[in-house]
Amino acid sequence: MLYREAGQFKTTYAADQQIFPIRQDRIGLALLLAIAFVAVPLFASEYWLKAILMPFLVFSLAALGLNILTGYAGQLSLGSAAFMAVGAFAAYNFMLRVDGMPLLVAFALGGLAAALVGVAFGLPSLRIKGFYLAVATLAAQFFIVWILTKVSWFSNYSSSGVITAQDMEIFGYRFDSPESRYLLVLAIVAVMALMAKNMVRGSVGRAWMAVRDMDVAAEVIGIRIMYTKLLAFAVSSFYCGVAGALYAYAYLGTVEPEGFNLDLSFKILFMIIIGGVGSISGAFLGSAFIVLLPIFLDVLVQDVFAGVFSPSIASNLQLMVFGGLIIFFLIVEPHGLARLWQIAKEKLRLWPFPH
């Protein structure tokens, strides 16, 4: 009864075509944004802002990027961390080598650099598909990390390729406190998520989904495969690149190429699988899950089972629980947490009545 679109008549084209056509969705989103922008910085502790919310937002953005490529365009990629690395190092170099480079422009340029690299490594997707492509994207993963380590120009000749992000400053305001950094990242993520939501419901997104469902059929009905696939790689890598820049600047401050290894790529892939492949909200839910799970397991082992297991066994048990939970989720809800949310909405339509 609460979540029902009955009685909401669309009288203009604009009303009919808005991103969130149901009023309850709009109210819910506004509430969520209000909480995220106002309540969280007021009440959250520094630990929460720095160690939980910041990685959550950054990984959400990266997962969003991967979800565009894998969830919407159907191209499995295991190289998202490498594209994040490109974004981070490109943003760093733009800041370093161009005098007076504005921070946000550097982030955007970092994203564009990642997009270019993404298109280059997306070219094989025109010929190869499925798991062959997934393995091919591993080439991007290893090659990019290697070249960032070997060519020390990228890290301004620091040892082993470590870069330390410059201070973040926009119009003279320095983002030093955790709250201000959180708000900056939140604003970027919110805007980009909205853009993604808009993109995937439009002609671009529909072309992606057609290619995902069957690319030969999509080609037959007149979708340009090359353009569509490469656009998916470009947009996805742009998102990953910006996420990488935020990861370096707002979250960690100091990164090295090895930090963007295959494990990170898998982590992002887990996020979209657990959150829901082909869903924008899924990227956020999955990211929250993957960020919180290790912390939760840590707390569980340290506080609840304190002293029962030796530390080495405990860390291996965590590994087992992590792997086991992923399998469990895939078995119980293969469409991810976003699907659970959808089921909840269906139920809310009727609630509290049985029919």
Partner: protein, 297 residues
């Protein structure tokens, strides 16, 4: 020239080691369509279990049989707990499940046997063969040659098993067409269990060889990553492809490292196999021996 030959032979023989891991992938992919990312973890698990049992004072053959038993249990457990509930899921979901399995198996192996690096002695020295060194001046490791011999025996045994036994025939039928095999009464789940057990056995052999070479340690897991370019080069569905792909990857990787690596600062063997496999795929998208993919609308 001598040096070139030595590098080439060394590369070919190390390629055989990659083939061991790739072989396990191919078996499972052929029979169940699952891209089993956990094969590397299974290699690690097998090697660690074997060494762990050996350390308890069990003789070599006993440990081998017990470790094989553990691999069979692992395979059956995987089939029962992971694969069976996920029938009819898209391949990517199954692939993700095997990544989850990777974490689980890695954790299980280390929780059971500890995480310390262990040596493994198979009784074959990793030193050049003397008469060959003297007559031609080319150093070929005895151990590598032994590994190649094991690979030859293993592949022959597998080929015979697939070709001439009842179970092998059923396996080939399942690999060819699941539904058709099911409809003529081949028990799919039994076949899957057998395939996982065989892949477990291959993982055990790979684990022993790799473990004796580099020590039984967590890094064994990464050998699986080297097997991936071997797979795409050879084709996911071909046993000979896994061997030939391994040889190509192994030799070019070593040659590239020796002759090209010097110009770009070394360490290129981390990505060179992938880039080469990628370049190769642009010419033949289904690998050397893979089945040609036909799209129907």
């Amino acid at each position: 020239m001598q040096f070139f030959l030595e590098v080439l032979i060394g590369g070919l023989l190390s390629g055989v080691m990659y083939s061991f891991v790739a072989l396990g992938f191919v078996l499972i992919y052929k029979a169940s369509g699952v891209f089993n990312f956990a094969q590397g973890a299974m290699v690690f698990f097998a090697a660690l279990t074997f060494v762990g049992i050996l350390e308890m004072g069990v003789p070599f053959w006993g440990a081998l049989i017990l470790a094989f038993g553990a691999m069979v249990l692992l395979g059956i457990g995987t089939e029962r707990i992971v694969l069976r509930p996920m029938v009819n899921q898209p391949p990517i979901a199954l692939f993700m499940a095997t990544i989850g399995l990777t974490f689980f198996v890695e954790g299980l192996a280390q929780a059971m046997w500890g995480a310390s690096v262990r040596g493994l002695d198979l009784g074959i020295q990793d030193e050049p063969i003397e008469w060959m060194m003297e007559t031609t001046g080319i150093g070929v490791s005895k151990f590598d040659l032994f590994a190649a011999g094991v690979a030859a025996v293993l592949v022959t045994a597998l080929a015979l098993f697939f070709q001439y036994t009842r179970v092998g025939r059923a396996l080939r039928a399942v690999a060819d067409d699941h539904q058709a095999a099911l409809s003529i009464g081949i028990p799919l789940q039994t076949i899957w269990r057998i395939v996982w057990a065989v892949a477990g056995f291959v993982a055990l052999v790979a684990g022993l060889i790799w473990g004796a070479r580099n020590g039984v340690q967590f890094a064994l897991v990464f050998t699986a990553l080297k097997a991936l370019p071997v797979l795409i080069l050879g084709g996911f569905t071909s046993v000979p492809g896994a061997i030939v792909g391994g040889l190509i990857i192994g030799s070019t990787e070593k040659l590239a490292e020796v002759y090209l690596g010097a110009y770009v600062g070394g360490g290129i063997d981390s990505w060179f196999p992938y880039v080469m496999a990628l370049a190769f795929l642009l010419v033949r998208p289904e690998g050397l021996f893979g089945e040609k993919h036909i799209d129907r609308v």
